[in-house]
Amino acid sequence: MTDQTDVAALAEQVPDGALVALPPDYSFVPMELIRALIRRGVKDLHAIAVPVSGMAADLLIGAGCLRVMEAAAVSLGEAGLAPSFTRGVQDGSLTMKDSTCPAIHTALQASEKGVPFMPLGGIIGSDIVKYRNDWKVVDDPMGEGNGRILLVPAIRPDVAFVHAPLADRHGNIWVGKRHELFTIAHAAKTTLATYEELHDGDLTEDPVLSAGTIPAMYIGGLARAVEGAKPLGLAGSYGADMDHIRAYAKEARTQEGFDAYLKREVLGGQAEAAS
């Protein structure tokens, strides 16, 4: 059994300084939990995008919750550059660990399999390698003369975040074909999940839904959050609010604009009450 709680209480379970895993914007991001983290005032997070991020990372960066960002890219996609990320890197307030999509997937799979590193093809010759002291290029360790290969160390997030379309009373969550969320949940020490709807019955025992279900074993906390991915979309439930995201991309081009967005959309009543 995984205890059910509310989103604010989930946010309390994330310690300052934690290594947190963020799904990409198209893959069931628990935005209400991200906002709750900002309201809780979490600090010094090291965020790993799996393998890219957008709104979730940008809000955390703008709100001063992130110390280090590791990603293959941070972008608002069709809405353009991620404004807080861009500003943070350009003014030096954010430490960016540049990576590449398959390196992040592979490093999470290393944790999933409990090994300290994994090999990855390609990449050698990219300047990314030059700036990653934790990566290592070695001569074929099998001794087969297959040339040089990159080894990347395992990434083991302290906490992974996910917003699931369905969850059940046993603590299982359903994410359909978004299998990167399986990998994140397996790789992370624990996963905090919000969900859209409660499923009656045991998701792991359903012959069809079980194929898209992450079992309760991996889930450390669970809270219902209706429309909890907005303004991002939840495939099969609702689309992304592109007008909102475009407006954010524009407003947050300055820190003042970001702060106004934050006060209005995230801190809300809390900011009012505190003033």
């Binding site: 990409p24 893959s27 941070v74 010759g125």
Partner: protein, 248 residues
């Protein structure tokens, strides 16, 4: 010859570069390559398979974000598209930013999967409409993905062609150099040279890039608008005149 938009022309140029069968994948925010791939799929009766990574329509992958990269590593992806903030004469790509890393003057999103796809996909088509010396530089500020590799690094894939608003170039991996293949109608070799910051090979006779046929435009407008709308509704409407009634 029918009237056509610049996007329709570029779709046609890319379509002409695609193989008759295999798997072509298209990354995020790439409606022009996406349309070309769907068009070629239509023209080959499905023998060329299409995967649009962004969105759920025309995206057959079911094993999460890593499946595209894994499939490329397995040698199953025959065609992919890359671009860059900067591209240099050795086909090095920069998707990270300009200035001295890490203290960049202008930061861009990041390298995405470029240094992996560039090594694993045999036919990488570089697509960068803006043809200026700001983009096509002597040497990129940051190598997200190198154009060529030494022999002790296993590499199957790499750059095949470059499509811009001015011309089509091919890339010779042994020489590590681009070669001008054709110049688009209304443009000249001199214009290409003036706007390119790196040296490249120019044959004695440079043909003009073929224009889209009426037949191709007909298929594009009648069938591909509807398909691409599932991923890029704005583009489908603006460029291909297809208004989606509802998009998921």
């Amino acid at each position: 010859m029918a009237d056509y938009s610049s996007e329709e022309f570029l779709i046609s140029v890319i379509t002409g570069l695609l193989p008759e069968k295999g798997n072509a994948a298209v990354g995020a925010a790439s409606p022009v390559p996406g349309s070309a791939v769907l068009l070629k799929r239509e023209l080959t009766g499905g023998a060329l398979r299409a995967s649009l990574i962004q969105g759920t329509a025309n995206n057959p992958f079911t094993d999460g974000g890593r499946e595209l990269f894994d499939a490329a590593g397995q040698g199953r992806i025959d065609v992919f598209f890359l671009g860059g903030v900067q591209i240099d004469g050795q086909a090095n790509l920069n998707l990270v930013g300009t200035g001295a890393y890490p203290a960049l003057e202008r930061r861009f999103p990041g390298s995405f999967g470029s240094p992996y796809m560039y090594f694993t996909v045999p036919n990488v088509i570089l697509f960068r409409p803006e043809h200026t010396r700001r983009v096509f530089v002597e040497k990129v500020d940051f190598i997200s993905a190198p154009g060529v590799s030494p022999p002790d690094v296993h590499r199957i894939g790499g750059p095949k062609a470059l499509v811009t608003e001015l011309c089509l170039m091919s890339f010779d991996r042994d020489k590590g150099r681009f070669r001008l293949e054709s110049v688009h109608p209304g443009h000249s070799v001199e214009e290409v040279r003036d706007n390119t910051g790196f040296d490249f090979d120019v044959p004695d006779n440079v043909p003009t890039t073929a224009e889209p046929s009426d037949e191709m435009l007909g298929v594009l407008r009648s069938k591909i608008g509807r398909e691409i709308a599932g991923t890029y509704p704005d583009f489908a409407e603006r460029v291909l005149g297809y208004r989606a009634e509802m998009t998921a």
